[in-house]
Structure formats: structure tokens, C-alpha cells
Amino acid sequence: MPDIRIVNVRKEFRDVLALNDVSLEIRDREYVSIIGPSGCGKSTLLKCLAGIIKQDSGQIYVGDREVTALPPEERHLGYMFQEIALFPHMSAWDNVGYGPRVRGEAGELARQFVGQIMEMTRLNIASDTYPDELSGGAKQKTALARAIAAEPQLMLLDEPLGALDAHVRGVLRYELRRLVKELGLTAIHVTHDQEEAMSISDRLVIMKAGQVVEVGTPLQLYLSPKRLFTANFLGEANFIEGTVEESNQGQITVSVKGWKLNFAGSGFVKGERIVLAVRPESVIPAPDDQQSDREWTGSVRDHLLLGDCMRIEIELENGTEIVSQIPNSGLQPIKVGERARIDFAKDGIIPYQFPAQGLDLELALE
């Protein structure tokens, strides 16, 4: 199975630049997710890879073969659509057998092959069942089986779980990864659901407005995102604006609306505007019964028991709102209205230069 190389691909629609010189390399057998907000170009990129859309300029290589100008049927890939797109006029089995059939294979051997694929995808469907009789999850699994039966070199998945219930999505995504890995395929999975992407990918590609923002493993991008947008898009984060008061010997002191914050870091200049990203699980709340004017205290605005974790919204005395999300320890949470103080976990604070275009634009998810 080959490496995939996307080189300087550009695509314009009317007056929208969907892909702005995008270059990407994907290794053999990698499970890569491309994520970003709606309109970032991820679907367009996938369609160019598949040959469904023709790019304006740039090249695409699958292994040593340049596929830039080839039609989809000659690119040897499997494609999964958000709309699922099972052929309504054929039974589920005939759908899965479509790939072999258009290659000219028919008869008993082909039928056995289809049976093997159905078993591998753990699909238990009678041969006379039609797509409209299947549940959403079963439909998408059938679509997966159909793509696999075409014996592709590469699997392209375009928001494959978008049309499904949340619960089904949560289960089926692990199935997707399992099958792709079992067959030793390379997979490129496009989605707007960052939780989905983080849970099953080897690497993530973050896109915004037609460009690649950042690339890395889920852990890398979650724990040390290089861009503010990534910090906001991948998981949740609190964003605290402040000014650098001191920065030396690996320690930075930041002043935030009169309060001070100290953490390990470097590369910033005194007086510089700074934005700190803090993940909700790095904000540790504790009850504060002392009436003193301590820093980083406030009152609990709302707390929600989300099952496996607890989400606490605190309105700090200096006017900022901060969100904490910690695993449900079974202990009683601080009541709404009561005072609390917060501590930040070590290396839970990620500093960024204040963005030139303003914080809202940089963080914008739409």
C-alpha cells in the first residue's frame, strides 16, 4: 500500500477559494483524519483525491503513480459518503457485490467473496434485504463493506458517521478503525467532529479556510497545540488574556486583570500581550471559605454532573469566567453560589502571542 502525496492543490469555486495551495503527505497504513469547521475545504480536498472534483492546479500521487488527471474509477480507492448512498434499487448483498461485478467478476466465486466481506464487517443481513429496511448503522456498515469489496488501495471517508445517531457514531467509529487496520489500508477520514477524529486517528490534519493549520498526533495536538485555533477546535479550552510582567529563567509571570499567574515557559517579552489556553481539566476547583481577597477566587455559577465528569463554571472576582471539567470523583461538588478558588495544573497552561487579527477571529469556529 502506497504513500499519498498531495502537492500544492488549489481549487476555486465561483468566488470562494476552497483549497489554497494545500500540500500533505500521508504514510502507508496511516489512519489520518482531516478536521476543521464547515467550509474549511476538507471535503473538497477529499473529493479532489478521489477524482470526483477536478482541482485547478497541483498534483496528487498515490505511491509512484500520478493520479492527478485520472477519473475516479481508475484510482483504486474506496469512498464512503456522508449520505451513505447505498443503491436503493439493489439488495444489500448486490450493493456489496457491485465492485466485483463492474470489474467483470460474477458467479459463485464473487458471491463467496461478498460473503467473506460481510462476515469481516460483522454484518448479519439476509440476501434479500434492501437498504431501506436497515438501520442507519447497518446501512453505513454495508457501505463500508461495499467499498472494501472493490479491493481499494486507499479508503476515503467523507463524514461517514455524520448521518447517524450519536450513540451509533460512538460505537461505529472504532469499527471503522478496526477494519481499516485489519486490512492494512491507508485511510483518510474527513469529519467536523473532533472527538471522533481524536479517538481513532494516528495523525490529525487541522484545516481552516482552505489551508492546513496544523498536523500532529492527537496527543500532541491536544496537549501542545501550536495554534490558538487548534486549542479551541480540538477539545475545549479557557482563553485568558493578559500582559507579560516578567519572563526569565524559564518562568513567566502574567498579569490578568490585576491578578498574577506564574507558570513555566519562555520566549515572551515583558509588556507583550499574551493569551493563555487552559484546558478545563487543568482547572482544579476547591471550596474557598476564607473571606479574604485572594486571587483566583470567585463564585460557582453553575455545576453540571455530566456522568463521567463534572463541569463547573466559575465567575471569578476579576470579571473572567472560567470552566473546569474534571472526572467525577463521587465527591460532593461545590454548590452553586458558593465561593471557590482555582488552581491550575502544572504544564496545563499553554501561552500564545496575542493574535494580530484579534482573538475572536482567530478562534472562530464558523
Binding site: 483504486h76 457491485y98 461485478r101 463492474v102 467483470g104
Partner: protein, 562 residues
Amino acid sequence: MREESGKSQPPRDSKSSITLWTRVLLSLDLASGSRNTKILAYAVGVLFFLIIVFVPPVFGILLGWSKIFEVVWYPDLLGRAASAILASFTIAVTVSLIDLAAGLPLAWFIVRSRSTWASTIDTLANIPFIVPTVALGYSVLTFWGGTQGISSLLGPEFVFSPGWQMIVLLHFAFSYPVIVRVMVGALEGYKEVYETAARTLGASAFTAVRTVSMPLLKPALIAAFLLAFARSLSETGATVMVAGAFENGPVFIRNARLAGLESPLLFVSFVLIIASSFFFVGIRIFAPKARLPISAVRPKLEKRSSSRAAGNLRNLITFFIFALFVIIPSLFVVFPSVGAISDGTLQAAVAGTGIWSTYWQSVGLSYSIALAATALNIVAGLPVSVLIARRRGGIVVSGVFDTLVNIPIVVPSIALGVSIGMFWGGLTQIPEFWLLVFAHSSITYTYFVRSMVASIESIPTEVEDVARTLGGKPLTVFRRLTMPLSKYALLAGAIMAFTRSVDETGATLAVAKKLTTAPVLMVDWVRGTVPASSSAIGLGLGILVLTSFVSLLVLTVATRRM
């Protein structure tokens, strides 16, 4: 926090700027909430449909039951009648199938090609709609049969004389745009993702279309076929012009009427009504179950058929057929009408001298009938449209109406006219004008209702649901949501009904004894029953084409502004 809870209804004495008209509307709105009012509204629509549109054409013929089978005693006439009926069906089926094969590639080009020519071709494909069928008939007659038409291009061997070949050429020309329109609509609504999926699975473009898209478009193909079939079966005026000595159903009825042979006339009308209704319903029920050949795949051959060269060749052939058999014959009538400007015929027409006074009278009559029929259709057709589109009364009831509403256009219009004439003539003494209005109303009703039904169905029911939960009474919802969102369909449906009525020849031939509408007059001019020079004919038809063109222009402009 709930202080406003009591304020969900306005205070009774609110100072308002509500005008009288608004007050009237509001009370009507309120009234529409009651179940009885709703039933009344639908009942009016349904009764109109039954009494004016459906029952007379389908059952009126039965009033002449005793006379229908008298023809059995005259075996020659019976034989002639039988072959006429057979001819009608054979031509209709054959032409529709050929039209389907020839029109589908053009529709495909219009929707899928990224060429700038696509929208031009789309507009061109509408031309035969613009040309009234009587004008088309004369156009075909002179192009394929005259000395200045095809024979001047390819030589005198290519002349056709009036007869069944010309009927086929004529029917091909006017059924073609029907196919193209239906298929363009279907293709635009077709989700290309299925075809794309097939291609990602390794199918060449040709294979993907053949094994996936065609089966999925089958309902549209069937609908297109049925419409083309109905048009071919039903058309009278133009067919009479080009039939010569040949007889299909409608031509036979006209001839029988002119000869005063009542029984064969009734017999053929009866058979045509029954046979076409059954054929229509039968295809509707059974055709969806038929399977297209999709199992075998020949990868290499189909890949070659998908190549760009193959595609270009296919387009070339399609355009050639389109130009030669549809566009040119349709527009050929322009020549004699242009010629009429220079040879003095135009002045005579404007002055209204000689044959022209009858002409203008008949044009005036045609338009008044059309206006009255269209107005009736709009008022009485709206409730039935809502009933069908929103499945009021249940799926079965609305399904039945959906089928019944289509019957008047399937039945040949001349047979329809005979039946209608029998119904009203046997029951009351209606002035002939109103008889014609009812006949035209019956024939054009379907066009209006189908346009409205399609439009209403395209409005998601959630929109109306939300409006109701926000406090909107049924009439409020209808006038503030359904109607504004269906403006285009209403106008389009009305104009289609109007132009169809102006164009209508068959039923008029059957019903009218004293009055003459414009198309009927034109048929007389062409057949020679009323002497008229060829430039007069050309001009007379040209004026009809012009007015038809103007109404369609109005439609285009109005819809672009919506």
C-alpha cells in the same frame, strides 16, 4: 420570570391601525379553523372537479350508449374505425419510445454538461411549446411536404406527402420537448451521489449511468413516456392538417362528424376513452415493477463508451436529430408569415377585411374562452391541489384524486369533446360559449393542478406545522405561506392552462356548432374548407405564435423577479 404568561393573546381593546380589509381577513382566518369550513372549501373544489372536469368527459359518452354499438351493423365502417383506433395507439407508443431515446441525451446534456451552450439548448428545447400545435402542423406540412422545405436541402426524393409518416414526424416534434422537460426536471432533482458512488467502486461513466442512474430515474422515464403518449394520442388539429387520407382516432372522429355519421363517431370516442384510461392506469401500476436490463456488465466495451470521443459523438447525433426533426420544422412557419408582411396580406389583416374579420373574431373568442376557463380552474383547482399535495382525507383518497386528475389529458381531446357535448347537450340547454368554456376547463384543469401540487409538495410540511403552532389558522397559513411560496407555480400553471386552451382544437371541433375558435379556423384554412392564400395562413398562424410567445415571455420575466 413568567410575568408575560398572560400576554399570549392581544388585549381586546388594543388601539390598532388594523384596516377593514385586515379585519375581514382575520375573521376569515378564524372561520377557517372550524372543521365545517374546511370541509366546505374542499367540497366545493371536489364538486367542481367532478361536475365540470371529470364526469362529463368520461361518462357523458355513455348517454349515447344505444347508438355506440349500431356501428357493428356496418362492417366497413367498423373496420375503418378499428384501424383508426389501432393507428392512434401504435403511433403514440412508437413515437413516445423514439422520443424517449432521442430526448434523454439532450436532457442529459442540458443538466450535466458544463458548457455555456447548455442553457441555450435548454431554451431552444422549449420552442415547440411556444408554437401552437396548429402552427406546428402547418409548419411540418410545409417543411416535410412542400417544395421549399427539406427537399430544397436534400433533393426532391425527400418529400413526404400527407399521411402516417408525416403524422409520426409531427408527433415526434411536439412530444420531444415534453420528454426533455420532464427529464431535465428529474435529472436536476436526481442525487448524483449514487452515480459518483458507482464510479468510486470502479464503474466507468457509462456503466454507472446504465446500472445505477437509469433504474433510479425509471419513474421519471415512465412519467415522460406517459406524457408524450398522451400528447400524441390526444392531438387533433395539427394531425388533421397533415393526415391527408390517413385516419387515426381523432381524424376519424372529425371525418365522421363532417359526414354526419354519429354511431361510428361515438363508437370510436368510447373506445378511445376506455382504452386510453386503462392504458394510463395500467402503465402507472405495472411499469414501476418492470426491470431494466442491468445485470450484465462488459467493462471494456462500456469504458470505451465512456470516453470523451464517444460522448462527443453522442452529443453530435443528438443535436442533429434535435435540429432537423424538432427545431427547424417547428420554426418553419416563420417563412410564410414573414412573406406575408411584404405581399400586402399584413395590411389586409390589420384592416380586418375579408377572411380577416372572421379571424379576429375567432381570436377574440379563443382568448375569452381561455380566460374564463383558466379563472375557473384557479379558483376551483386550489382546494383539490391542496387535497392531493397534503394528503387530506387520507393517502387512498388523495391518491385516487391524483390519478383521476390526470385522466382528462390522457383521453384524446376530440373524444373528450364528444363526451362532454353529449353530457351537457343531453341534460340542459347551455349556451355554446359556456359549453366550450367547460370543455376547455376540463382539458386544462390538469395542467394547473399538477403545477400547484408539485409546488405545494415541495414546501416542507414542517413550515406549515410551525406556523400552526405559532397560532396560525389554516387560512392564515395558506395565504401567508403556501401561496407566496407557490406564486411561481400558480402563474406557471395558469399560463400553461391558458396557452393550452388557446391551442385546443379537438374538443372544440367536437362541440362547437356555431362558434369557431382560432385554431379550428386555421385548420379550415389549411384543409381548404375555407379558401385562404398560403401567406394568409402563414400570417394567421404567425400571429398565434407571437401571442403564445408573449405569454411565455411574461412568465419568464415574472418568475425571474420572484
